[in-house]
Symmetry: C2
Subunit: 227 residues, 2 copies
């Protein structure tokens, strides 16, 4: 049995709440290697007195967290990831100048580079979520380069969040392994990052406690202090 | 399309993080009217280079949020619930003196009554989660009485959280309707509340953004400031 965590965290929440999560719905887009998304009426007020829905989906449906075990044999599973990683200040990087399928490289983080230190949470905004749910959302997105993945791993950041549906297509395995192998939590499929309108915000995005598995859909929220 | 929220919230997070969420796992306990819980290996590192899990479960599996639409025709669905309800200070009520199947009544909230005002988040600890995953966990739990549900509705609380798997068995419909019909968010199946060791804590428990449905599994966290 997993014990409750007792780590100290120290953050403050004040301001606007921005919903950074894609909607989950019946037949929402998925990659070919994922189970399909089925949001199924199981019982209803008419049939038994109350509505009950069956959820069938990939652990990587929509806005979701990748655990190291997604790509690393013996890697940390989603239920064992430290909760503190998913609760705290994040740095927002504006990469909306990137074109479809273009690689995001360390130079794209330049204005924020000084803020990227061990334990940082980095969220990269490409604006690609605006393409959702078109078919090209899953195929033509700008990508995290191997170079950037290794750069972030070398800086020992705690978390990388992106508004693209996966880190990379052609180089997906090597890029995932570079980040997940370094123990970096990955959140894919974020949205609405343009509503943050600040370079720092508070990220709240704890995954479901799914025993021993590779990922989880998540409700990701950004809290912005405009004060 | 739902717009990101822009409501102001003002809370502070400092201290220990306590995981208040039950584990989700293959064939985890469910009520007879719920879909079964299937956590299924869909693809593996050996088969395609990475692990992908299929999640099949009730929207009310384990620790979860009930939306008004669970019991109320035309009621607010889970994706439309205000996020601020799930982020903020909660009052913890100790009801561990209650016996199996015993009704929890307004008098059981006595030491905390003054703190229960419009917008309050109330979390009732019975300790029943310690019985999980025995079969009686789903049948013999202490219950929220109709009297208490109506008392909380009259006080216009924002949220009720419980460490029992449902609000009530025999009187389930009337008790759910009293709370959900008043727009009160309900979180069922919490655990580890004894680790809070304080009468106030910060609750973080935003449900998945499931379009138009009746509930969602949730990662519920308690943050306790011991300082």
């Amino acid at each position: 049995m997993i014990q409750p965590l007792r780590k100290d965290i120290r953050i403050s929440l004040k301001g606007r709440v921005v919903d950074l999560s894609q909607e989950i719905y019946h037949q929402a887009p998925t990659f070919p290697w994922d189970p399909k998304c089925g949001i199924i009426v199981h019982n209803t007020i008419e049939s038994i007195g109350f509505n009950v829905t069956q959820l069938c989906m990939s652990a990587h449906q929509g806005t979701h967290v990748d655990a190291p075990y997604h790509f690393i044999e013996g890697g940390t599973t989603i239920d064992r990831m430290p909760l503190e990683v998913f609760l705290g200040e994040a740095v927002l990087v504006d990469a909306r100048h990137k074109k479809p399928r273009e690689a995001i490289v360390p130079a794209d983080l330049d204005p924020q580079t000084d803020r990227i230190t061990p334990g940082s949470r980095i969220v990269i905004m490409t604006g690609w979520d605006l393409v959702f749910p078109e078919a090209r959302y899953l195929t033509d997105f700008p990508v995290i380069s191997q170079e950037l993945a290794e750069w972030l791993a070398a800086r020992r950041v705690a978390l990388l969040g992106v508004d693209i549906p996966s880190l990379n297509m052609a180089d997906g395995p090597v890029v995932h392994r570079a980040l997940l192998g370094a123990g970096i939590a990955v959140i894919e499929g974020l949205c609405h990052l343009e509503e943050i309108r600040a370079t720092r915000f508070l990220l709240v995005a704890a995954p479901l406690r799914i025993r021993g598995r590779d990922g989880s859909p998540v409700r990701a929220l950004g809290i912005v202090d405009d004060g």
